[in-house]
Symmetry: C2
Subunit: 359 residues, 2 copies
């Protein structure tokens, strides 16, 4: 039996909402239903140029979207400082929530969002698209394989991009009152998520910011890094920045294997994604080459990763709607842990690189 | 006019000396001439199985090699704790020196070796083979290009390998009296060298060891990492370990470009080496892929990198022999800076991660 498409309302007309609107159109179990903006004109334009059907509801406020009884779920791409208010309101109106990252200004705020969602029986998921790529599942298989990968030892994650002058002046991610965590909340979110993902979401024992955090004039982080440390000696490092060419590396080493990829957040190509693995790598007799050579794996994406995300979210919403199931708690749990680590890194930055315990 | 081949004597029969013997055979301007070991039997066996000519001199001591007036140059693969003694003696006997890494137990010792080489007019070069690969020169062109790469912002280097139980029990690199710096002096040497290489050998302002250094029972480093920091905000991190699968990554980000490779020390294949570059990377309209895509570059190696090293060293020796030129000081300078940074990282490890200034 085909699922009833979940009807989405979108709060605001952020640039990223264009990509997610397309994803909602592509997902077989989701439908673009409404968009709200503080400007009715902007909402009208947005709907017209982003594949909304003729019948779509165009609203001049976010409240109006939440008050529409036909809206099943909302996608919230608003600046982070508005997440607590609008996610809480949405939950109270029984709307399921797909929430942009970083999910909140801090984990305390996010706990209030989780509480609102749980007490109103709505699904909460953050919009970390690469988690839903079939490549991610294949990579997880590899690093979970005791024969091919062994035990996890280290992770390095890099996410940088070269922001242009317009971004550095005007983007919400450089404004202390909108996205206060700056590059840490944006690019750093993905780094931390990849590290937690590789660690099966086991939290580190402590984190330590690296020296050399760069801030803009308003005091927002433009570039930073940190190391994360687990009880058993596992270590991870990451570097995120608005000042370097686009780079998205993850390297995961285990006692027996290594995983590499250079496009973990946005695959180079939409239709397929690759990664490299190596197992029990050694050398030729005279150490003049590797035996065995690492191998390249390519996974066909099928539905794009963001459409898979919408589809998985919609599937969970449908299941709640159908039988009142309690929703999938792993997604808000992943979000919370990511935010928790980001907060700890921010605290360490504020304390000049002191260790910050997470236990 | 063809150069006269430089006649090499080898001190000791270390495993790595097999590879370098082959390299000496392959280099057109070098020749295997003598080998010395504390055991004449070992030296005889070594010469027989490593391409030495019938006429080669087999000696039962290192001294005998140094006393042979026909030996132009020595290759010293002895444990690091013996470098000061044997390199100094070799220099005094006017032998040019190709020295295994790490070059000394600390930079103070290495300064004595440099002094001995300078006052005796002999060339000194360390055995960091990848520096001589033609791929390295191509990569340097890329990261020196203001249009394609812009200004350097960050480097991450990883060198790990999974040592087996025999190595962890018996190798010189786990013995405090032989190679006291352990994984830092071995795998870490390459990490630090790649970081300095990317920085045109400009020293960092300070370094800081990451928490989580692992030691063996004898107190030798088995796994560690550090961050390096420059005045202008450039940052580098590295991780080296004997406990993870073989991994050799370098990622260099600039304001406009990125360089990646996964086999910087030993290329996957002897005959060719590849690297990936990206310049002004951006996204497709819906951020569903990269535009432009990174590009892969393959460089044919020709003579293997270690034979190129021997050849370059021999060229310099020949030039000193011919016209009494003073030798190429950049090579000992690269060695010294690498050792200097290693020492600082070691100090930081000993001081529980304190910043250690290099200025």
């Amino acid at each position: 039996m085909a699922e009833t498409p979940i009807r989405f309302g979108i709060l605001g007309c952020a640039e990223i909402a264009r990509k997610v609107s397309r994803a909602i159109s592509l997902a077989p179990n989701a439908a673009l239903y409404a968009v709200g903006s503080r400007s009715l004109e902007k909402a009208t334009k947005f709907a017209a140029s982003n594949g909304f059907p003729e019948s779509a509801k165009i609203y001049g406020s976010y409240d109006a979207v939440l008050d529409d009884p036909n809206v099943d779920a909302v996608y919230i791409p608003l600046p982070t400082s508005l997440h607590l208010k609008w996610a809480t309101l949405a939950a109270e109106k029984k709307k399921h929530i797909l929430l942009e990252k970083p999910v909140a200004l801090n984990v305390g705020e996010f706990d209030k969002i989780i509480e609102a969602c749980e007490s109103n029986g709505v699904q909460l998921m953050d919009s970390t698209m690469w988690m839903h790529n079939p490549r991610t599942a294949e990579m997880k298989k590899f690093i979970s394989d005791p024969e091919k990968f062994g035990e996890l030892r280290s992770v390095n994650a890099i996410f940088t991009f070269a922001a242009d002058s317009d971004f550095l002046e005007n983007d919400i991610r450089v404004k202390p009152d909108l996205d206060a965590l700056g590059a840490l909340g944006d690019a750093g979110w993905y780094c931390v998520r990849s590290i937690l993902w590789a660690n099966d979401f086991q939290l580190p024992k402590f984190v330590k910011a690296l020296p050399g955090t760069l801030f803009n004039k308003a005091g927002v982080i433009m570039s930073c890094g940190a190391s994360l440390h687990w009880e058993d000696g596992k270590v991870a490092t990451f570097h995120c920045s608005f000042f370097s060419n686009l780079t998205m590396n993850v390297t995961v080493t285990g006692t027996k294997g290594t995983l590499h990829l250079n496009d973990y957040v946005i695959p180079f190509e939409e239709k397929q994604g690759s990664f490299m693995t190596a197992t029990e790598s050694g050398f030729t007799e005279f150490v003049t080459g590797w035996v065995p050579l690492p191998s390249q794996h390519t996974v066909m994406t099928g539905l794009p990763q963001e459409a898979r995300m919408v589809s998985e979210f919609s599937r969970l919403v449908n299941s709640i709607k159908k039988d009142g199931s309690v929703g999938e708690k792993k997604w808000p749990s992943y979000s919370r842990k990511t935010q928790f680590v980001l907060d700890a890194v921010k605290t360490s930055i504020d304390k000049d690189g002191e260790s910050v315990s997470l236990s």
